[in-house]
Symmetry: C3
Subunit: 264 residues, 3 copies
Amino acid sequence: MDYATLARESLDRVAASKPLIHQITNVVVTNDSANLTLAFGALPVMAYAPQEAAEMAGISQALVLNIGTLSVEEIEAMILAGTAAGAKGIPIVLDPVGAGATLFRTDSALRLLRELPITVLRGNRGEIGALVGSGEVRGVEATGSEDPLEVAKAAREAFGVTVAVTGPTDVIAGPERTYLVRNGTPLLGMITGSGCMATATIGIFATAGEDPAVQTALGLATYGLAAERAAMGDPGPGTFRTRLLDEVAALGATGTEGVTIAEA
Amino acid sequence: MDYATLARESLDRVAASKPLIHQITNVVVTNDSANLTLAFGALPVMAYAPQEAAEMAGISQALVLNIGTLSVEEIEAMILAGTAAGAKGIPIVLDPVGAGATLFRTDSALRLLRELPITVLRGNRGEIGALVGSGEVRGVEATGSEDPLEVAKAAREAFGVTVAVTGPTDVIAGPERTYLVRNGTPLLGMITGSGCMATATIGIFATAGEDPAVQTALGLATYGLAAERAAMGDPGPGTFRTRLLDEVAALGATGTEGVTIAEA
Amino acid sequence: MDYATLARESLDRVAASKPLIHQITNVVVTNDSANLTLAFGALPVMAYAPQEAAEMAGISQALVLNIGTLSVEEIEAMILAGTAAGAKGIPIVLDPVGAGATLFRTDSALRLLRELPITVLRGNRGEIGALVGSGEVRGVEATGSEDPLEVAKAAREAFGVTVAVTGPTDVIAGPERTYLVRNGTPLLGMITGSGCMATATIGIFATAGEDPAVQTALGLATYGLAAERAAMGDPGPGTFRTRLLDEVAALGATGTEGVTIAEA
């Protein structure tokens, strides 16, 4: 199967349909996530108030939930938006930022997994590990030595959703197949929100194809490929961050040759 | 009338008086808006708490209200700040981000228009249209085919405030005259918050002259001119966003020749 | 004493220990502060909810409190986090953004100083002055003519903490010695959050040595040195902001020769 062609087709579908991506995300990354969404040709909308969360999800094509700077009110908004998204049948992507670091984060992520029809769960191996009882984090960084493949499969079993454990190699565990994505650059670890932007990318790609695991792999590979191009010449993190948006926006012209996806 | 000279005079007045611009805005654009305000030579202050909103507005030279990530508490702060601003007689600019997308946004924008002495209302044609019963939006993007000139005039009639409908051509409907501004670049649509920054610009320029419609036209034209310069060579959105700040800060040196304002 | 060597040693300690810096900061600067923390080789975690504030502080190596967009709930989180940080004995840095501009900010900053074992207080001369009954601010900018050395010493006396008053020359008043730091560039005043990032830097450096006043001086000088390098060629504020992150991340390679610290 030619993943570069599939990635290209997904990009084209996004550009043609301009899906509205409703994001309830953290205050650190909200600007970056919105800009990334625009760079992919999709439309971001950030809406957090319980008073409008369900209505906004109801007009959207995907919902992205990110607990990076969670509050009690935001959980309420996520439940309302997620319920509306489930009723409409649009994909829901959950990023359990910092799960394992505090009980509030772990419990909130587990509650969202329990109460909402999550489509894809994405985190680093510490965060996802914490949700299945292994995993070690410091703040929002994975520090343990879990095998990401084991962590992804365990979470896949436990929650019945497609699971993406991102890192030097991304592991995507779907109901039938497991994919490995080898795109990316260590510079992604030098900027805040690179994981959150990966999650937003999954939400965007989930609107462009039927199989969540395949779309997640395509999204992560394409995002990683743009990051590789942005990392050319080994720039500092400020310049890399600027170029990352440039390279994502340029994907229509520069193409998707170079995405590196394999079945595990 | 020589608009380039008028724009230059407004810039000089801002640089000389360093007006304090109190902004209650959304979490997506707060950093960009603050940096833009500094680049124009004004002083930004972001203050959201009901406990201080009135006091902060009372020491400011303009108030900018933006409902992009509205909460119930933030509406309360906006009412307090706007009432204080009205009592002091400083200009108030309202950006009804996403009005029409959810009832919460439409109703909140209408309430602010009803309860506060708004000076200028700025939005895209979908948002402003939604406030007067036409208009079509997806999330925060205009998608319908309304005539911006009709929309601006209808809102001007309905609310009795100066109305700016921004787009490829900006329309500014004042009590006596209507202006068209043709500055700008499609790249502005590739970055989040470009509309919100236009609104902040209006707040800044409103401190530098008596006629809100003229000042709005001057502000939008000057901002659009800086954006045209930042778009030279067709950079990606990350680079464009960086250069936009550079070009706004450089306006004192590069001048305002090129602002394109006409009466409708 | 060779301050360049001491600065280098602190940087090396940070890179080796990767301290977790818990930040409860304002929405304007949260992305910049997180990226700056990563550029220094430390790990940022932004956690604001009262439900997790104490737990997050308890696993961190420093706590940074910044009242730039304060809410009543955030004060509660700060008290919880600060109490946990005090119990653990990790450094707490307080940035009283806009103290003096509103009673809510002044009173909240004074309350945090009273109830928490603050290690270092950093602000501009207007903000720190306001806390000791002098000082003049407009929004978040100092506008009066107080002598920063007098202001720093008065606050040192009043609160019994190390005080950093930043400006063209930074003054750091410790219990035994007072330091002057002359690094920096006027371009820092052209970007929002440059003071907040200075505060985050102090939190990072406070994890790398015993004497808070010395570590504060080293941190401010190193940050200022990176800013000087980013200002080479007098770029616009957008480009400067990008390069500032690049230069901080490059400090391991470019070194700390050029830090300019003297005893007062």
